[in-house]
Symmetry: C2
DNA sequence: TGCAACAATTGCAAAGATGCAACTCATTGT
DNA sequence: ACAATGAGTTGCATCTTTGCAATTGTTGCA
């Protein structure tokens, strides 16, 4: 991509970008908020991690969540009780426990991402083809300039 | 704005938009995460509302937060104790209590928004002037197509 | 004036998140 | 075989969020 880096962002373009980006954040917020009727935000974060990284050993998952193992064990108790995840034996070692999404848990995550996609598609459909094309190009360059947002960071807000 | 509505969004542009939203979320998450060392997310949301709407009567604020008044009163207790907000007498009625940000509370919010602006500026600075201009226009048309994201919704994410 | 409506707080209570220390098994290495 | 280490769980404790019911003042109105 061409990055001429021919300037710095003036105050105004920052404000404009920030303001305009609120719409996009609104989409995300709406999609997540429905899930929060079912699980808490910390719990939803767990679902997100399991969804994107697959089944995982207890300790590893706790570490990813920046939680103390004991704390986390009981959080998982609650989530198991809620039917969102399940504990299964590890094929590697009998002292390890693997946490896996149940179909219910997966459905909840899917519902959120699906809602998000759907809503974005809806908004895009209200734009002209030209506008979409321009937007797409602009967002690509923005994403590239921004770099990868680490999964770790996104987790703070539940994706 | 011209909305020809001459098509539907293809899968690809949806994905691109989704990716960009993650980059944006990364910015938001990073900016907020430091504040979360000081206050909880629900508490930070209170600070956000006070920051954007100014001092507010107890009951009104509780309503905005979708909290029951009694619940909220105690949340405010903790925040007062933490030094983030203060209760002041209402000039209108002696039975009303106004909640106002302390300078500490305001500083916390400012710090977050400042960090966010800074980071956006940084990203924009890695783009060419042309790209920035195009991005702004594109985001504006996206915002228009999306409609207002209610402050209510954005609050889920802490702005 | 006196009562009903209003604003906020307090009493009580349940559920989650979180942390430290102790404990139970399983595994590894000597 | 046994001690040391590793993985999870349980005991115990605290703090925050959240809700319902009852209480204390205030205000408005008949």
């Amino acid at each position: 991509m061409t990055t001429l880096d021919d300037g710095y962002a003036d105050r105004n373009s920052v404000e404009t970008t920030l303001t305009a980006s609120r719409a996009l954040l609104g989409v995300v917020a709406r999609s997540v908020s429905t899930a929060l009727d079912s699980v808490t935000l910390p719990q939803f974060r767990v679902l997100i991690v399991l969804s994107s990284s697959g089944p995982m050993r207890m300790g590893l998952l706790a570490e990813r969540m920046h939680a103390v193992a004991s704390t986390f064990s009981r959080s998982i108790d609650r989530m198991v009780h809620g039917g969102w995840v399940e504990r299964i034996d590890s094929p590697d070692s009998r002292r390890e426990v693997i946490i896996r999404l149940t179909s219910l848990g997966r459905a909840l995550v899917d519902e959120v991402t699906e809602r998000r996609r759907h809503e974005i598609a809806e908004i895009l459909s209200r734009m002209s083809q030209d506008e979409r094309t321009v937007l797409q190009g602009a967002l690509v360059s923005f994403s590239e300039a921004a770099g990868e947002a680490s999964a770790e960071e996104l987790l703070v807000l539940g994706l």
